[in-house]
Symmetry: C2
Subunit: 448 residues, 2 copies
């Protein structure tokens, strides 16, 4: 998959936000090699079992057959632990909290742009702690960073929770996830945070001397968000006319389309467009003028609608003389506003645009939330679950059944447990499958 | 090679600066796949000849032997052209100007941290133009961006020029380079910009319809700076005590070391240290307090000297009572300044620190420039060239001899033509090797 500039700019917006949050929470960026000796991958039993079917292997380097095959990283826990073992000696070296922005490779049979690709970009955080409590706290902190990003920046009302044992990351003790409902009502796992316990530290012998002089294995986490999130944004907010981007992550927040018929109108319209551009730019609004001669205004309207630009400003000859512009929202087709007096007082326009961008941001989140909520059905039996899933909805119901029962649901309905949500109804419940007591409800859905 | 946080922070400083300059000059970031079908690499004859000895090949994916081997990108011209061929149809699609930040792999036999590694990080710009003049202008513009970065940010007085035909990039018509003199007087090629002409567009059939309706091959450039630049900074400015980082790219510009002997002094000293920290931070100065109990002040002095932090601030009990601090420059050992009255008027300290950081920035560039100039010898004969190289210096002399003569110099002296510098002495000259007329002087040196 090639990521072209407009899509990549969304990734840059994701990076800019998360990078600040990661540093605020005490993490440093660094970089590990992407080629991992095959023997490293084999060290943690469930890890190799989970990843070996989808590895890309380098077998030839510099013209020679290699003695040991090199794995192109599918994720970096193994090489991270190889290094942590050399860096960590005492409790004074802990916590060790790092992150890397990198490409990873997983040999996928069925690919889908942004959502499931052979190579993708991501950040992977890796941390080492002296106690299990600290590791758990870190894993929860990072899924919270992702949740806030989803709600506040991407306007995606994810459901945050814990994965079932069956769905837990290969090598983790516990996996936390944010699950998003796409426009087709399939679930997208949009970010995960793993409490790795001592699984990797035992496999790699990563030990430290604690405050009492005892040798202990470190407690670890890892957490990741990838370019898949771009797919999540597209599939949450898009409609039949194309993308619909939340203003906070849109590469272009406002597109300006100058409209003229006669040649003598052109200069005035273009001058007005460029002075509006300057006004908005100096207020840190991301703006683009589409002043090409090649296309009609109608073509441009459709094009920028498809690109999901939140606001469109039209400036025609009459606007030039009245000092006004016409503003349309991408998320409310047909609805227009007209702002007057902007040649006299540019701050009026800035205030109006900022206000509309905020409105769009909230409105996209509200719309996605009510769509999500109207497509989750509370179920209390397997029949109800099957019914909900067959209608394309998500099913939420009490669950305490076995891994085997969970796999049976998957086989029979195509749905998996997306998570046990953090937000749970009060009181004891009865497992929808077995009728046994259940402490938690689980969320079932078909997923990407 | 693993890049740990302190080294990676230098890379982030390089990225932050260049990314802004690339966007200002009209480029967009994007991302191409790193696996390139082997058949792509073979299309441009000199390209495959240059790169085939150092390729890493993926031959197994998802458990199966692949039908076509995949090359782990050593550089992306081939896959870029494969895509450009699909994107570019008309002169209206030009210029197309993109950049990617990525990892690349070259199977190096002799590796050296940062300078020559099997995998490294870089940015690679790729542009397509309608005319050879535009491509040439772009190639020159980007080597100029690199030159300014080297001088103004990294304090490295590179010599900018054109590579000889022998040293030109595999597939380029012309390669421009910035060459830096390291502390051991070896040359480091720190960044290159290539005018690719139509070599790749002919190999890949990348054509456009020009304004007259004629089909033409596009004219291209590519240009790159890598994590090797970190090595360049270390080896330009370091001394026997360790690194010496230019303030503009230093991850930590000021380290504060609180000093106390008695327990009752500790609180006052630490409070003073943290208020000085806040003052400097709010002036956007990158500051770190080393207040650990584990180490002595002497140990800390040595440690942060080794790390190359430009300024050190000491705060002891007497400083607390007099409202002063002691400030030392990394680049002028032993020289200290004492700033008084800072508890009354914090702006005094900020002004002093900013002033010193500027002084260090200029002083590092001046020092490196005079070191460079005192180690370049003007030569007019091969004997003089050999003499200069054998003394470990660089030789600059008129050159119009053949590729074969150039290779002979390399064999006999170990030195190569680093570049024909843009800055040339006036008038016709006589080739140092052949006695024939020569238009330009070339710069010879041993290199990394």
């Amino acid at each position: 998959m090639v990521i072209r500039p407009y899509g990549y700019a969304i990734w840059e917006a994701i990076q800019d936000y998360l990078n600040v949050k990661f540093k605020e929470t005490g993490h440093s960026n660094m970089y590990f090699p992407q080629f991992i000796p095959y023997s490293f991958i084999e060290k943690e039993a469930s890890h190799v079992e989970g990843f070996s079917p989808e590895l890309a292997l380098v077998t030839i380097g510099g013209g020679k057959e290699l003695e040991e095959k090199l794995v192109v990283r599918p994720t970096s826990e193994t090489i991270v632990n190889h290094m942590f073992t050399q860096w960590i000696h005492s409790y004074r070296d802990l916590p060790l909290m790092i992150n890397q922005w990198a490409n990873v490779t997983r040999w996928e049979m069925r690919t889908k742009p942004f959502v499931r690709t052979l190579e993708f970009l991501w950040q992977e955080g890796h941390t080492a702690h002296a106690t299990p409590e600290e590791a758990e706290k870190e894993a929860l902190q990072m899924i919270d960073v992702y949740t806030k990003f989803a709600y506040e920046q991407a306007a995606i009302p994810v459901i945050t929770g814990r994965k079932s044992k069956v769905e837990t990351f290969a090598g983790a003790v516990r996996t936390y996830t944010i699950e998003a409902m796409m426009g087709d009502r399939k679930a997208l796992q949009a970010g995960t945070s793993h409490n790795l316990g001592q699984n990797f530290s035992r496999a790699f012998g990563t030990q430290f001397t604690d405050e009492n002089g005892q040798r202990q294995h470190i407690w670890q986490t890892s957490w990741a968000v990838s370019t898949r999130f771009i797919g999540g944004i597209i599939m949450t907010h898009g409609d039949d006319a194309g993308l619909m981007l939340p203003p906070k992550i849109a590469p272009i927040q406002v597109v300006i389309i100058p409209i003229w018929k006669k040649a003598d109108e052109k200069t005035g319209v273009l001058n007005a467009a460029s002075s509006v551009t300057e006004v908005l730019k100096s207020a840190n609004i991301k703006v683009k003028v589409d002043d090409s001669d090649q296309r009609t205004p109608g073509w441009k309207f459709n094009f920028w609608e498809m690109k999901g630009v939140p606001l469109r400003i039209e400036i025609g000859p009459r606007d030039v003389s009245s000092g006004s512009v016409v503003i349309s929202r991408r998320d409310v087709p047909g609805k227009q506003g007209k702002v007057f007096g902007i040649s006299m007082e540019p701050s009026i326009l800035v205030a109006y645009v900022k206000d509309k961008l905020d409105e769009i941001q909230s409105s996209l989140l509200e719309r996605a939330t009510s769509y999500r909520d109207s497509n989750i059905v509370d179920v209390s039996s397997y029949d109800e679950l099957k019914e909900a899933i067959s209608q394309g909805k998500w099913a939420r119901g009490p669950w305490s059944a076995s891994d085997a029962e969970e796999l049976r649901v998957k086989e029979e309905t195509g749905a998996t447990i997306r998570c046990f949500p953090f937000e749970q109804p009060q009181g004891m419940k009865t497992c929808l499958m077995t009728g046994d007591p259940a402490e938690e409800v689980a969320l079932f859905a078909k997923s990407y």
